[in-house]
């Protein structure tokens, strides 16, 4: 008899890997993603450390593989609302919100976006640019299909316009789409809902939100990315001037009991180093400083990567947590006040751009999903493993597994390995529970 399918929740790199592993071995997979495209955070990154691989270039083929795989069904704009039953026999209800575009017809030609009159801040580009009210999430999106953002669409708001439906050569626009409920019966469930970055606005002394040239690391990834808002030119968001003095601040909101989260986000030291090297690659003349507390180099090749950043690229590492960031009203420059804890002296550094490497925090949606699945969350809202040593990927609910950043910050290879591990568990369940 046919084995039951497996449910994978979350279409980031972890979810994608888990889905592919299972599908490749012949199991059917339902991949549920709440946004309009799979790809997750990794799709937003420019490059990856320590090899400086282009992120989307290595991810896109896997995304396309997912969409083409006969054993994988992708449900975008979907969320798991109800789960009953037990290992080997879960009944799952998935709610798919309307796209208002017929996925089977849309070819992603982009004509609708071109003609759409409504401009909206582009969330995928971290609000650094604008998109239209009907849009394709990003050029490599899978599925490569437009979506109408009904919050802003003139038709949904004021009942006028409908330009998109008029220009669409494929006749794919469908304003009448309704939310649909999909029922699935699966043998096991892999949770891979990922992670998000902290909004550092509340840390007043760093001026995020007040100074345009203070950005988060994810915003920076878009800024340096060739397919980003500036086409990869590192310009100051405030005045578009080329930025060649850049400071990175580590542990923004992290490793702090008083003003944020006590834990270390694991990956910031390395991605900051990567981003610093990126800047140097683009413009070797630029000054790049990384302010850190402890340099986390625990991964394979990390120390060597940092050594290279220091010696070959001349990236400056300063041990110390800046106290304040200020802005000169005349020059528009930013001034970073910090104590170099090695020398014990206080200095100020004038820069064009400050990148805040903020805490990676749990997605708020975890709460609801945890209730639906009967899982526990830790005090920070991450999914709890059964046992950090023996059952890192398992949960207290048999047949439900967690992988990737949804149970704490970790880097891409760890997420991918965990995803494959999750697939192994799911495969074992499927064998146990299939007569």
């Amino acid at each position: 008899m046919m084995d039951k399918p497996v449910l994978v929740i979350g279409g980031g790199v972890a979810g994608i890997q888990a889905a592919l592993d299972l599908a490749d071995r012949g199991l059917n997979v339902h991949l549920v993603e709440k946004s309009p495209s799979i790809g997750g955070v990794m799709a937003q990154l420019d490059k990856t450390f320590p090899t400086m691989d282009c992120s989307i270039c290595i991810l896109a083929p896997k995304m396309i593989e997912c969409s083409r795989h006969p054993n994988i069904t992708i449900h975008t704009l979907s969320q798991v609302k109800e789960v009953t039953g037990r290992q080997g026999d879960f009944d799952v209800k998935v709610l798919k919100e309307p796209r208002y575009v017929d996925e089977s017809r849309c070819t992603g030609c982009g004509l609708c976006s071109e003609k759409c009159p409504t401009r909206v801040s582009d969330g995928w580009q971290k609000g650094l640019t604008e998109r239209k009210a009907i849009y394709v999430m990003f050029p490599q999106a899978v599925p490569l299909v437009a979506k109408i953002d009904s919050e802003h669409c003139l038709y949904f708001q004021k009942g006028v316009c409908q330009v998109c439906s008029r220009v669409c050569p494929a006749g794919a626009i469908d304003y009448t789409q309704q939310p649909e409920e999909i029922s699935l019966n699966v043998s096991s469930i892999i949770v891979a809902t990922g992670i998000q970055e902290l909004d550092p606005s509340y840390i007043g002394e760093y001026g995020y939100g007040r100074f345009k040239d203070v950005v988060t690391s994810l915003e920076f990834e878009r800024l340096v990315c060739a397919s980003g808002p500036t086409g990869g030119h590192l310009d100051r968001p405030s005045d578009g001037r080329h930025a060649d003095r850049i400071a990175f601040v580590q542990c923004v909101g992290s490793r702090s009991h008083k003003n944020g989260y006590p834990y270390c986000s694991s990956v910031c030291c390395m991605y900051a180093t990567k981003e610093a090297v990126l800047i140097k690659e683009h413009d070797p003349g630029s000054e790049v400083t990384i302010f850190y507390m402890d340099l986390k180099v625990y991964g394979q090749g990390f120390q060597q990567f940092v050594d290279r950043a220091k010696l070959h690229w001349g990236v400056e590492y300063v041990r110390g947590r800046p106290g304040e960031i200020r802005r000169n009203p005349i020059t528009g420059d930013l001034v970073v006040w910090y104590e170099d804890t090695i020398t014990g002296d206080v200095y100020e550094k004038t820069v064009d751009l400050v990148v805040l490497c903020t805490t990676l925090i749990a997605r708020p949606e975890n709460k609801e999903l945890a209730d639906v699945l009967g899982l526990k969350l830790d005090e920070w809202g991450f999914f709890k493993s059964r046992d950090p040593v023996r059952g890192h990927i398992e949960t207290d609910v048999p047949g439900v597994f967690v992988c990737g950043c949804c149970h704490g910050p970790r880097d891409i290879p760890e997420s991918v390995a965990e995803a494959s591990a999750g697939a192994a568990y799911a495969a074992e369940v499927s064998r146990r529970c299939t007569p």
Binding site: Q300, Q303, V389
Partner: protein, 561 residues
């Protein structure tokens, strides 16, 4: 005799994406006049379901034996059209694409007539290649549902059990006389403080009870031949060499610890031990008596010139033992001399704070001014300069504990040669891709997990072992796999056996056959074509990208061929 070539050309408007800038009708008209083109038609969307149907009808109606689609990029759409052709009974390799959207209409929007001319040229090039296309087969390779796991530590055992639970037979090769590996030496494991024995014993029991896992103790892999699906492995066992035939191989040989001879008085000064030795003491006597002041030194012989990498687990290990000692007796003085704390992630950070809360004294030291340990009659004396305090501390210790790094196994070298998989500069096994293939080797059918790959804590090794088992399980569950058709072939009449191609092939897909001539293993070849382009005798041809085909394309591009 060769059959008459009948090419069908389908030109896509892609709505206005192509049609808006390229004069599609004229391209179709032009295509009809090209040599061997039997039929040409425009489509609004060739990729739409009715577009695909049109192709299939045309193959039927006009007896087409080659198909060219001029539309978008093959990277996303070639497989779609190929399957359409296949359904219509045409070999998928008799299909060719011309990218007249992404690389033509979209990038020459302001010069429509030039775009149209280029579209015609691109179609001409595609047709020129199509005329030379030949059907290709994707050879089916059987995969034995039997796995070999090398290494009987926590990683190897976990991997073996997972393969077993996935329904495969497993051979487990352990070089020691007993299963369990490094965990046999450890007492408690962070972050949960579970007893190492509680982790390892159940695994060992399950493996020993199982009939599906064959354990070879005191054994070593001495030779590996073959490729994914069908490896011939020779294992040296106490009972002499044994031949094993397996479909996949998982490397879980673990790692060792550096013995820090001569560092910080180790082996010279009484009371200087390693974290591992401290663990063993805990394991044997459960605690530590008569030790009031204890100094832990991190990064002993790591993160330096000779051993660049960070050993990952030592900092948290230190926190774990510091907490343990202070729990037992809060009046103790426990110092941890560190460079950068590697207590990453939620649980390890929590342990760092716990240790601090309990009064562990964390003192940062500078790589260029490391601590000094001398032996006094009272015991080891530690001097350490703290840049933060800008002063030198002198600590009369009862015990000094050195964080000696995890180091690669000495026999990695040999094994890597047998398996034809690479080691990295540190001497650990190197995966296929640092980001997306963390447990695969570039060589199909061989996988890695645990500390054989790099220093790891136990939890990480366990899930990595599971991951390796998942990867290895895929081809074995399928029972067979399709080797790519786009591979290189050696013309034995021309090959002189110089071996240039063998050196170049990144996948070790080329070997010398009994006649000393190059021989490509299609199951392993990935089809990059580097060998062909370099063969001194021009004896290697790339399927589907032959010199003739590429030359035809180029010549067609230059002038009306």
């Amino acid at each position: 005799m060769t059959e008459e070539i009948r090419i069908g050309v389908f030109v896509c408007h892609c709505g206005v994406n192509i049609g808006g800038y390229v004069d599609v009708p004229s391209v179709v008209e032009y295509a009809e006049r090209l040599p061997d083109v039997a039929y040409a038609e425009p489509n609004l969307y060739t990729c739409s379901s009715d577009g695909l149907q049109k192709i299939q009808e045309a193959i039927e109606k006009h007896g087409l034996n080659r198909v060219v689609v001029a539309s978008c990029t093959p990277r996303t759409h070639e497989p779609l059209f190929q399957s359409a052709c296949e359904e219509a009974g045409l070999n998928r390799y008799l299909f060719e694409m011309a990218n007249i959207r992404d690389q033509c209409s979209w990038v020459h929007m302001r010069e429509p007539e030039k775009a149209t001319q280029k579209a015609k040229d691109l179609v001409r090039m595609a047709v020129a290649k199509a005329r030379l296309l030949v059907p290709e087969e994707e050879p089916e390779i059987d995969v034995l549902p039997k796995g070999l796991v090398i290494g009987g530590g926590v990683s190897g055992l976990t991997a073996a059990l997972s393969l077993m639970d996935q329904g495969f037979k497993v051979h487990l090769v352990e070089r020691e006389g007993r299963l369990g590996g490094t965990l046999l030496k450890l007492d408690k494991l962070f972050p949960s403080n579970v007893k190492a024995s509680e982790v390892i014993d159940p695994l060992v029991e399950r493996v020993e009870e199982s009939n599906d896992v064959t354990v070879h103790l005191d054994s070593k892999v001495s030779d590996v031949k073959g490729f994914i699906g069908n490896f011939d492995v020779v294992v040296d066992t106490p009972g002499g060499p044994e031949k094993l035939n397996v479909g996949t191989i998982i490397v879980a040989t673990g790692a060792g610890y550096l013995s820090p001879e001569g560092l910080y008085g180790y082996g010279r000064v009484e009371g200087v031990v390693t974290q591992l030795e401290l663990e063993q003491t805990f394991k044997e006597v459960g605690g530590l008596e008569g030790v009031e002041t204890l100094v832990m030194i991190q990064c002993v012989g790591s993160r330096n010139e000779e051993r660049a990498y960070c050993s990952r687990v030592c900092c948290t290990e230190a926190m774990k033992n510091a907490i343990r000692l202070l729990e037992k007796d809060p009046r103790r003085d426990v110092y941890i001399l560190y460079r950068d704390l590697q207590t990453y992630g939620i649980e390890f950070s929590a342990m760092e704070f716990d240790a601090k809360k309990r009064g562990a004294r964390l003192v940062m030291y500078d790589k260029d001014r490391p601590p000094e340990v001398t032996g006094e009659e009272k015991g080891p004396l530690v001097r350490v300069y703290s840049p933060l305090l800008d002063e030198e501390l002198t600590i009369e210790a009862d015990m000094v504990v050195l964080a000696a790094p995890i180091v690669p196994n000495v026999d990695n070298e040999a094994l890597s040669r047998h398996l034809k998989v690479p080691l990295n500069s540190d001497g650990f096994f190197m995966e296929a891709h640092v980001k997306l293939r963390p447990v695969d080797f570039a060589t199909d059918g061989v996988y890695v997990c645990g500390t054989a790959h790099s220093p790891k804590e136990v939890g990480e090794s366990v899930y990595q072992a599971k991951a390796a088992a998942s990867r290895a399980g895929i081809p074995m569950a399928r029972g067979s796999l399709k080797a790519a058709a786009i591979t290189s072939v050696v013309d034995e009449d021309r090959c002189c056996g110089c071996g240039t191609c063998i050196e170049m092939c990144p996948y070790n897909a080329i070997t010398k056959n009994e006649r000393g001539l190059a021989q490509v293993e299609p199951a392993v070849c990935k089809g990059c074509g580097v060998c062909g382009a370099s063969c001194p005798e021009g004896a290697i041809t790339m399927r589907h990208f032959t010199d003739e085909q590429l030359e035809a394309q180029g010549l067609a591009a230059i002038g009306e061929a």
